[in-house]
């Protein structure tokens, strides 16, 4: 069975400093991995996705993530936080289950606060 663990429920950074949101996954097969962001009263917006091509994936708004199979990690980073980055971030894995069905599994989310 697949699962996703977001290691921090809350992360607080100062504006202009780096952001690191951690995600570990477990999967029996070759997964696809995603990061979604949710701003207040908005839908879930795709930030970036890993599709078994390049292991370093660049997304929107300066975010990137690196797929590390040996560490089963897909951490999200940004070199310099902006106030508008304050939101909830979800790590998501798509994988084939034992039943043969594919499904998206969400992490529990990390709330990012950006201090001025």
């Amino acid at each position: 069975a697949q699962s996703v663990t977001q290691l921090d429920s809350h992360v607080s950074v100062s504006e202009g400093t780096p952001v690191l949101l951690r995600c570990n996954y477990s999967s029996s097969y070759s997964p696809s991995l995603f990061w979604y962001v949710q701003h207040p009263n908005k839908g879930l917006q795709l930030l970036l996705k890993y599709t078994s091509a390049a292991t370093l994936v660049k997304g929107i708004n300066g975010f990137e993530a690196e797929f590390k199979k040996s560490e089963t990690s897909f951490h999200l980073t940004k070199p310099s936080a902006h106030m508008s980055d304050a939101a909830e971030y979800f790590c998501v894995v798509s994988d084939r289950l034992d039943t043969g069905r594919r499904a998206l599994t969400f992490g529990s989310g990390t709330r990012l606060q950006v201090q001025p």
Binding site: N41, G43, L44, F106, S108, G109
Partner: protein, 117 residues
């Protein structure tokens, strides 16, 4: 940029009542989904829908739930007899393809917050 819309943004209902949550997917998308997020818990997959039938459903999606595409634009989730534990944020999503690999992205709506009293 096209987006998924959902109505209402907030629905309050009495236990035992039927509710219908509405979604308008992106117009050229063929695959549709419902997810829910109980307060403080993870987003959970409920059901996927393609070609006018359910293609996948989770254990949560029992006989109290149904989905329908009544016309060319709307996609609805019906809960027949709501329970207290149905209180959650319900997200609709759509994709051009199966939406479960990196080649087909699922686009999500802003959600409907359902409160069952």
């Amino acid at each position: 940029e096209p987006e998924v819309t959902q109505t209402p943004s907030h629905q309050v209902t009495q236990m035992g009542q039927e509710v219908i949550l509405r979604c308008v997917p992106i117009s050229n998308h063929l695959y549709f989904y419902w997810y829910r997020q109980i307060l403080g818990q993870k987003v959970e997959f409920l059901v996927s829908f393609y070609n006018n039938e359910i293609s996948e459903k989770s254990e949560i999606f029992d006989d109290q739930f149904s989905v329908e595409r009544p016309d060319g634009s709307n996609f609805t989730l019906k809960i027949r007899s709501t329970k207290l534990e149905d209180s959650a944020m319900y997200f609709c999503a759509s994709s051009q393809g199966p939406g479960l690999t990196g080649t087909d992205t699922q686009y999500f709506g802003p959600g409907t917050r359902l409160t069952v009293l």
